[in-house]
Amino acid sequence: MFDKPNRADLLGAALRALREEVLPALEGERRYTGLMVASAVATVIREIESDSHHEPVRRVLDRFADLYGQDNVYHAGVDGEQRIRALNQHLVRDIRDGEFDDDPTGPVFALLLEQALQRLSLSNPQFIDASEYSQPTPN
């Protein structure tokens, strides 16, 4: 666990070997599977990096605080992910009850947008910049 290269280094090496040495030799369905494996590994590397600074979780919780107040965010759980889940359960009930019907693109929108952006920063950052759907796309 303290050994170097660490888990991110190893996965990074695996991804590079996959892209540079394995993928060029693959064709058809196997290449498609290879591309999907590369995409999955790249996502995991970004998640490992984000675990060290908690940035995506913090940003989402800040937007929740704007909507529900800092106290409610603090009391929603013991760690960031648990808080987001509990607050989202509350949020979906509020949406279904019509709490935001008068202003759907108002303050609630900022929170929803932040959640989409932070999830994409891990799974497909290109989508944020270029709005590019990930390839390969399932049939």
Binding site: E29, T33, M36, V37, S39, A40, T43, R85, N88, Q89, L91, V92, I95, R96, G98, F100, D101, P104, T105, V108, F109, L111, L112, L113, Q115, A116, L117, R119, L120, S123, N124, F127, I128, S131, E132, Y133, S134, Q135, P136, T137, P138, N139
Partner: protein, 341 residues
């Protein structure tokens, strides 16, 4: 698994076709199909309805099925109706609704030539001279299906037609969201918006439900078959148009707004040429939001199928994570509509 039933399949095909003999010269599983399995059958029959060599496709369930998809028997009936309406579909031939021959229900149809591969169809430059004609054709094809209206004696399994298809669809999203383990506020918000902004003017006809590149076989400049009928329903025809044109089904080729294949105007022109009248396309933007929410929910369910252990699939696992892309699109699309009011 279909190979292990070769003899039974040969006997069954011969009997159904009224042939003296049927020889299966090749059986091969076709790629793709997260929900259904398709097997290529090369057959050679003596006499009967299909004499000589022929390429057929056997379609059956994959190991786990998705919510709300129709069974093989119903899909077969839909193919027959679409075929009768003059739509280009693989000709439906024989149905085993009982699952006697290979252990699960299946049907056999003629094989449509060409490819349905989205990466090829949206990006291959050799197709460029054909794009306008192909896209217009897609408009004509779906317009033929939309001529079929309820009630229809062979389609009773589709249930009673909704008075407000958009509202019913948005309501079904809430049920589906309740069936997923995690709260999904963006899709909840999108569904709420769809419920509250349903178009006043809707029409009800037979809709394909999954009309997009990937389910349309194309050979050069020719449409050879509309596939995958398991999501057909009575709905507003604009739902099929919105599904085809939504950004999430353009396979990354955004400037070709008709499914990544061609121009939206060509699609509309073909549709209007087939129906012989001008149409109001103003609700398509709404139906594109509907399409994006729907695909996002399906993506979450597909990811869940993998996570639950029901089915191992790299593709299903990644599709679950792909939902965030559609969710950002839902936010952007609705904001654009709201700002344009």
């Amino acid at each position: 698994m279909v190979e292990t039933h070769r003899a039974a399949l040969e006997a069954w095909l011969a009997e159904r076709a009224g042939a003296r003999t049927c020889t299966l010269t090749a059986i091969r599983k076709l790629p793709g199909g997260a929900i259904q399995e398709n097997w290529l059958l090369e057959v050679d029959m003596r006499d009967g309805a299909l004499p000589g060599p022929a390429s057929l496709v056997l379609r059956t369930d994959s190991p786990s099925r998705v919510v709300q998809s129709l069974g093989r028997e119903q899909e077969f009936a839909l193919l027959e109706v679409a075929h009768g309406a003059g739509m280009t579909v693989p000709e439906p031939l024989f149905l085993d609704s009982e699952g006697i021959v290979i252990g699960k229900p299946f049907y056999v149809m003629r094989r449509a030539g060409g490819t349905a591969n989205p990466r090829h169809l949206t990006r291959d430059p050799t197709l460029d001279p054909e794009r306008a004609g192909l896209t217009e054709r897609l408009g004509r094809e779906i317009a033929r299906l939309h001529v079929v209206e309820p009630p229809h004696a062979d389609l009773e399994f589709l249930g009673s037609p909704p008075t407000n298809p958009a509202k019913r669809r948005a309501e079904s999203f809430l049920e589906q969201l309740d069936g997923l383990p995690d709260p999904l506020p963006i899709l909840e918000w999108g569904s709420r918006w769809l419920q509250r902004n349903a178009p006043e003017r809707q029409h009800v006809a037979l809709c394909h439900g999954d009309y997009r590149i990937g389910n349309i076989m194309i050979d050069g400049g020719r449409v050879t078959g509309i596939l995958d009928w398991e999501f057909a329903s009575w709905s507003d025809p604009m739902e099929d148009i919105g599904w085809l044109c939504a950004r999430c089904w353009r396979f990354g080729v955004d400037d070709r707004e008709a499914g990544g294949l061609g121009a939206r105007q060509d699609l509309y022109r073909g549709y209007e040429a087939e129906t012989g009248r001008m149409l109001d396309w103003s609700t398509v933007a709404y139906w594109e939001v509907m399409a994006t929410v729907r695909w996002a929910i399906i993506a979450h369910y597909q990811g869940q199928r993998h996570v639950s252990g029901a089915e191992f699939s790299m593709e299903l696992a990644l599709t679950g994570r792909k939902a965030a892309e559609m969710e950002l699109d839902v936010l952007t699309q609705i904001r654009t509509i709201e700002e344009g009011r």
